[in-house]
């Protein structure tokens, strides 16, 4: 029995400030709760302000002097929702948070120039991370301004096409503590600039040089970085086997290598790039080359290899089979849109990689239920299976999937799965992401099976699954209270009744219902304001 409330005593008077901070930390998943608490009384209004260290304003007006005055200890500032940040704003916030600001994301802001960046770099001496992506108009003046932030550890300049070797050189010379550098699509940066980065910034751990006009000349310096772990060379067409063959350096610390779309690199080049890289764990070769036995031999050198991505590659029969003979036991394999994956080689692959946890066979049009049966017999630890558009897998094939009890993510978009398949899949009680778009054979009965067993579901995709009605949606909403993202676009049989049922899902963030017969006004009344409704018919 609850005692009569004592209206004269503030119950939180018992708790120290540290305990209140602890409670605030437990509320981090729920921004509404923090907001409600801060608006309950003056002391909590102040408490929330002093404890908050990260800020993501929705409008630039929120950075008016009032906000700058209220939050004194902001260290992480995300301005991706404020496109109108200008030099004056950057100067104001750099002065307000000069001793606390460590990280700022300006990747969606358009109006600032090198003047604002200079103020930011000079005033915020603790700045270690800055994201300036998507500013093709910035020039070397901006890079020079950034270079004044000498404590930088993480710098992202993606799509800053106006920055050249000169600007990168300024950064390299002054920001010697850089560890993570992103130069994707900085197409005027060449071997000279990248080489300077590699020579001056010896702490580099990850380097993204995608789409740059670089050659093997800078790679000589890059591979001598002693701490380099992640190297991304996506679509670096200037790098060729002929040049790579001359490389003398080797990088022992490398763990991830991404050579997507490097059509001029073959197994000889890969062997040169990865010589000595015995710690390699992840290799991404999407859209780059043919999977041959020579490539497979090359991959034999990596005992710790865990993840291989060969999506959109051309696979030969013997090459794909040879992947099964790797010394390492793969955990992640991506064969999406990989020509040549058949019932002859895929079963062999999955039988030799029994520890497989993630498999992507999207658009492998020629496999049948035989491959699925072999997969579910061999790889019992699989947690993610993507087989969108595997149109030759008959409905019997989906019955096998229920054997994989650890499955968390399943994508069977555009397949022949039916209600019996869903009944089998409902045995995977850990499912959190289920994509059933364009599954024309499933009905409400199948969805009810999922709803009754998979209570941890967070993502549900029923795009154009036209036989689903309100009955199935209501069952899903009741059985899966943790839903966060739901897609019911272009389902003609779904009405307001479904939307009413979603009001029970407290964590719902995104509801896609284009082309659905729902009414805008009722949506606003039923659902929380945070739900995003796009293009509903009214």
């Amino acid at each position: 029995m609850e005692q009569p409330p004592d209206t004269t005593t503030n119950l939180f008077d018992h708790l120290s400030k540290e305990l209140l901070y602890t409670i605030l930390d437990h509320l981090n998943d729920d921004p509404f709760a923090r907001k409600s608490l801060s608006q309950s009384c003056k002391s909590f209004h102040a408490l929330e302000a002093t404890h908050r260290t990260s800020l993501k304003p929705r409008r630039l007006e929120f950075l008016l002097p009032k906000t700058l005055h209220r939050y004194r200890s902001i260290s992480h500032l995300d301005l991706t929702l404020c496109p109108c940040v200008d030099d004056a704003t950057l100067k104001s916030l750099s002065l307000a948070w000069h001793s606390s600001l460590r990280s700022i994301d300006l990747s969606k802001s358009r109006l600032f120039s090198h003047v604002g960046l200079s103020a930011l770099a000079v005033n915020c001496t603790c700045l270690v991370e800055i994201d300036l992506s998507n500013r093709p108009d910035l020039t070397d003046l901006a890079a020079k301004a950034i270079a004044e932030a000498v404590n930088l550890e993480r710098l992202c300049l993606g799509r800053c096409k106006g920055i050249t070797d000169l600007g990168i050189g300024c950064v390299a010379v002054r920001c010697s503590r850089l560890r993570h550098v992103g130069l994707r699509w900085c197409i005027r940066v060449t071997d000279f600039g990248v080489g300077l980065i590699a020579i001056k910034c010896k702490e580099i751990r990850s380097l993204d040089l995608s789409y740059l006009p670089i050659t093997e000349k800078c790679l000589h310096h890059i591979l001598q970085l002693e701490h380099l772990e992640d190297l991304v060379l996506e679509h670096c067409l200037g790098i060729e086997d002929h040049g790579l063959a001359t490389l003398q350096a080797s990088c022992k610390s490398m763990k991830m290598l991404n050579l997507s779309k490097c059509q001029n690199i073959g197994h000889i080049g890969i062997a040169s790039l990865t010589s000595g890289a015995h710690n390699l764990e992840k290799l991404i070769l999407s859209s780059s080359l043919s999977v041959t036995t020579d490539l497979a031999k090359c991959l034999q050198s990596f005992p710790r290899l865990r993840s291989v991505k060969l999506d959109s590659c051309l696979g030969t029969k013997s090459g794909l089979k040879a992947i099964g003979n790797l010394g390492a036991s793969l955990k992640e394999l991506n064969l999406s849109k990989c020509v040549g994956v058949t019932d002859e080689n895929l079963p062999f692959l999955v039988q030799t990689h029994k520890d497989l946890e993630k498999l992507d066979i999207t658009c492998c049009h020629t496999i049948t239920h035989a491959s699925i049966s072999s997969l579910t017999n061999s790889c019992l630890r699989i947690t993610s299976l993507r087989m969108e558009s595997c149109s030759l897998v008959s409905r019997e094939g989906f019955l096998f999937i229920g054997r994989c009890q650890l499955l968390e993510e399943l994508d069977v978009t555009d397949t022949e799965i039916d209600d019996q398949g869903l009944q089998s899949i409902s045995r995977c009680t850990k499912l959190s992401c289920l994509k059933l778009g364009i599954c024309l054979m499933i009905t409400d009965d199948g969805l009810k099976h999922i709803a009754s067993s998979c209570s941890k579901l967070k993502h549900l995709d029923l795009y154009r699954s036209s036989r689903i009605t309100d009955e199935g949606i209501v069952a899903a909403a009741l059985g899966c209270p943790s839903l966060e993202v739901v897609n019911i676009a272009y389902n003609n049989n779904i009405t307001d009744t479904s939307l009413e049922s979603f009001s029970k899902c407290q964590k719902l963030e995104l509801l896609k219902s284009e082309g659905a017969l729902v009414f805008h006004q009722r949506v606003s009344q039923i659902l929380l304001p945070s739900v995003s409704i796009s293009r509903c018919w009214t």
């Binding site: 120290s16 309950s40 929705r58 200008d86 304001p529």
Partner: protein, 347 residues
């Protein structure tokens, strides 16, 4: 040394109970192995040799009352037993924290003073769970918090991710209300100078018209920041001769600035495009034109308004007429139950 160790160990084996004294002076005997589960008590026993008799009982912190101590010892008695499964422990914890909020707060504080971290985690999470999903009013009621926030601090804009015209309207009304409150405060605290662009603008204007030269630093700052404004002020000074006229024009400009601000709000509502700040900047520059809105600016504002109307998928004049006709009624509704429902929905 060896002999001393034996002497220390022997009394502990003989006496499996220790003595604890709570803040109200009452002393009780507790099984030692259970009390040792509390790090603070454990320290007192091992490092200081306290608790072995009634005369040297361990004095517990002020925040530990006899009732709370009883609860804590129940918790320790359960969890110090080895071999219990995680499921059992979790089930016990769930039942344990079912108590009224006041006692839960006291328990959290006491557990913290005894450095009993698992219990602090348990109770602080329980308090966080109580707070989740509640509105500020509900939180205030549950924890007996004072309602001492100013009106301005409460009127924060609602999220408008659904692009609902009514929420947009509500945000505009909130902005208007905040402005009224700010002006009211400014009248009360005339001496307090706020760092606001409008305020600075008016002050600069007054200072210039009165012919007072502020301290060189301030003048220098003003000069650096607002060259255009200085030119316009110069023109205005040349064009006027009488003080009475100056006073009148100050009022006109004041109204003009207020009017400009209203227009700025409307523009802000229409879009987040890059022109937003450009417009705002230009308005402040043109703020002291005494013949109304600049034609070019007016044209751009009209264009923005048209875009806004199109996005609302309704005819703007009709919309405005509807707002004006029902403005009074709507304003009343906002701060009665309907307003509360909006706030509650937001929470």
């Amino acid at each position: 040394m060896s002999e001393i160790d034996m002497a220390v160990i022997k009394p502990e084996m003989m006496k499996p109970y220790i003595w604890l004294e709570t803040s109200d002076g009452s002393i009780q005997q507790v099984e030692q192995e259970i009390a040792m589960y509390c790090p603070l008590i454990c320290q007192e026993i091992i490092q200081k040799g306290m608790g072995s008799s009634k005369s040297c009982a361990i004095c517990l912190p002020q925040r530990v009352s006899p009732v709370t101590l009883s609860l804590i010892l129940d918790y320790c008695r359960f969890h110090q037993v080895p071999g219990r499964s995680n499921k059992e422990r979790k089930s016990y914890d769930e039942k344990f924290i079912r108590m009224d909020t006041k006692r839960l707060c006291e328990l959290t504080s006491a557990a913290d003073s005894l450095q009993l971290k698992p219990l602090v985690d348990l109770t602080s999470r329980a308090l966080a769970r109580i707070i989740e999903g509640k509105s500020p009013e509900e939180i205030r009621e549950i924890f007996h918090l004072p309602d001492d926030l100013t009106e301005e601090e409460k009127l924060e804009p609602l999220k408008n991710t659904t692009d609902d015209p009514r929420i947009r309207l509500l945000n505009r009304l909130y902005a208007k209300k905040r402005k009224e409150l700010r002006e009211r405060e400014r009248l009360k605290n005339v001496e307090v100078e706020e760092e606001h662009v409008d305020e600075r603008s008016v002050d600069d204007l007054l200072s210039f018209i009165n012919g007072n030269d502020g301290d060189p630093k301030e003048v220098k700052t003003s000069k650096n920041k607002k060259k255009n404004r200085r030119k316009k002020e110069q023109q205005q000074k040349n064009s006027s001769l009488k003080e009475a006229s100056e006073v009148n024009k100050v009022e006109v400009n004041g109204q003009s600035i207020r009017h400009q601000s209203a227009e700025a709000d409307r523009i802000a509502e229409t879009s987040n495009s890059h022109t937003e700040d450009v417009f705002a900047h230009r308005e402040f520059d043109d703020g002291d034109i005494d013949d109304g809105i600049d034609p070019a600016l007016k044209e751009k504002i009209d264009r923005e308004v048209e875009d806004f109307a199109r996005r609302l998928n309704s005819d703007w004049p009709e919309r405005m007429q509807e707002l004006l006709s029902s403005g009074q009624e709507r304003k009343m509704m906002l701060f009665t139950p309907n307003g509360n429902s909006f706030l509650r929905r937001n929470a």
